[in-house]
Symmetry: C2
Subunit: 427 residues, 2 copies
Amino acid sequence: MSKHASLPGFRDFHPEEMARRTQIMAAWREVARRYGFEEYDGPPLESLELYIEKSGPEIVNQLFNFTDKGGRDVALRPEMTPTLVRMLGTRIKGLPRPVRWFSTPQLFRYEKQQRGRLREHFQLNMDIIGEESIVADADLLSAALEVLRVLGLTASDVVARVSDRRLLHAALVELGVSEENLAVAYNVIDKVERDPREVCLERLGAIGLDRERAEKALGLTDMTLEQFAAAHPGNEVIAKVAEDLRVYFAALGSLGFGDWVTFDMKIVRGLAYYTGVVFEIFDRRGELRAICGGGRYDKLFSALAGVDVPALGFGFGDVVLGELLKDRGLAATASRALDAMVIAIDDASREAALETVAALRGAGLAVIYPYRAGGVGKAMKAASASGARDTIMIGPDETARGVMKVKRMADGSEREMSVEEYLGELK
Amino acid sequence: MSKHASLPGFRDFHPEEMARRTQIMAAWREVARRYGFEEYDGPPLESLELYIEKSGPEIVNQLFNFTDKGGRDVALRPEMTPTLVRMLGTRIKGLPRPVRWFSTPQLFRYEKQQRGRLREHFQLNMDIIGEESIVADADLLSAALEVLRVLGLTASDVVARVSDRRLLHAALVELGVSEENLAVAYNVIDKVERDPREVCLERLGAIGLDRERAEKALGLTDMTLEQFAAAHPGNEVIAKVAEDLRVYFAALGSLGFGDWVTFDMKIVRGLAYYTGVVFEIFDRRGELRAICGGGRYDKLFSALAGVDVPALGFGFGDVVLGELLKDRGLAATASRALDAMVIAIDDASREAALETVAALRGAGLAVIYPYRAGGVGKAMKAASASGARDTIMIGPDETARGVMKVKRMADGSEREMSVEEYLGELK
């Protein structure tokens, strides 16, 4: 391994890449703030047990795990939810509900190496804990969509595909799928877009669905919500969930995201713990993996922390989003916006120049100056290369009169003004 | 280990603690921006070799290191400089100098467990690469001090103690300390405040300084810069460095930090690689460990990346700073500032209420609403508990007239106004 390389699957963020990460982080934080979420974070290293408990021992194959110098089995966090449950499990009883928490952790998985497959990424996690109402599900999805809107994307660029685990469960049970075979049936539906139809039918056959019922099961996946409800007359669970989802879509409409969402039974979400609404956001062109996914997981706090409290949340990674922003020409480029470079035109003006620098920075401006005394020509070149908006020159003449010479680099115009006048103009 | 605990030495950041972390991060970023630094980051996991190469094999005892599933020896980063050198080493030749880069990594050390000793912390790293001038050293220290000033601290709270490795080196050589014994002598000076005088003299004796010269060496540590220069007449190195330091302190004075800095030969800095100015910032009461430390390391890029380029930088951790802010009553408390809670007073007003929520959030306000339809009284209680500045009520009457009822929670006053009027007032 070259000593000048990062580990495979890990990114270096030079200022160019950092500007794009900062753009995404800022959008995440801004939306979380507008939606009234409070930020939390946990350690990037946790007890290995925490992840095994939630996901089973097979998760270990995908982890960066090791035994630390104190003999503890530990792992770099692959996801945030176990930490959230650990932190909130002991506190939730004393907090006014619902709790709205968000975090932007860096997560780690030892993925098999493939082109473009990373072993770390940043992920916005937003979770609402202690709320059963379907309107909370709508508010949560609208937050994810708001992130995309804040970044300049529209309903023409992305779509949220929404289903509900309870619908799929009820319909499969009605078709005769037994509880122990549900996981297989979910998996078939999850892959219905990728696998050949014949393979799907075969797999459903293997869990006891005859051809007719297997066709029926696959047929569900293309239905609208109303078609789905109409196809199950007399099923009270489905009637109730359908009514819930009508409230859900109406709320999203009122929140301004009617054009951004669609009912889609093909959305299952791999994780077994979802209990209600599930969603994934995709680019409309279908070129990228899911941008964001989440849903309701009402049983997880009970299973892991022994407190029976409903919850819902999503994970929203930086990688696919970053690709989408680049593709659409929306990715940030500049990483530094300098207001001014201050140049002393002789040694005697050095002190006045530094005092000016301090005054401008103290007022919040981004200001640099040449560290070495030297030719003004060279300094002017450096100012131009730095991308500073203004070059400010200070000489004995200016100092005596309490002014500075301000050159606006964009048009080359020069003016004499005091620090106060300069700051006043920028307000 | 309880499954409800984080690993020893690792912090959970509940919203209360996160607010304090955010306060510090914001100050770090704001000052870095004002000083024209660009942000970068590297992976928290790096090749173990990277750290051994810089610090020697004994560093491994302090690391979270392991062998990953691909057989690579890796470590959680204990410091940022090796990553900086790795990332910049290959690029520095093509970049306009000086390069000003900053980062705010979380760092990890497997410290022996003691009360309050953490195994992770966040650290602002600011580095200037490709600049020899001592004025760059002054600008760098002023950035560290500016962070403290931005957070509300003053020259009465903190002091930067500054020395220069070249002075100590020249003085010790003049006293007859050989090159191979310099590290021991540095170490004695570094600990002169903690170790008994007799121990210091003994240790200097062990490396060949007789009593008189040992006393002389210790005597250096209390001198002012001018005393130090006067005590070494005819030593050209010392004369030159003293002149450099006069420029340095003058620049800090012009930058507004004259009262914040002092010359102090007792500052050595443990790390062997410093080559010029070194500094540490302390609370004036002397109650805490160093807040920030750094200096010039002109040979490190050459040693690690094979490019001969001067550099200087500092590390500024969040833990001691956090303690200081708490002690001085300057730590942030609120983690969420809600502008409004919007309440539909009946089911028919639900849609209008959600549209209002969307309009206010779209304008950048932080807004929540009750997810469940229910009594207005209960919703008002929740609004009060949420800490929202305003409660906004929307009923059929208000909707018909295109207004909303705004209750300012601080004084209980109620007014009717449109969304536009409300937003206009807040501007």
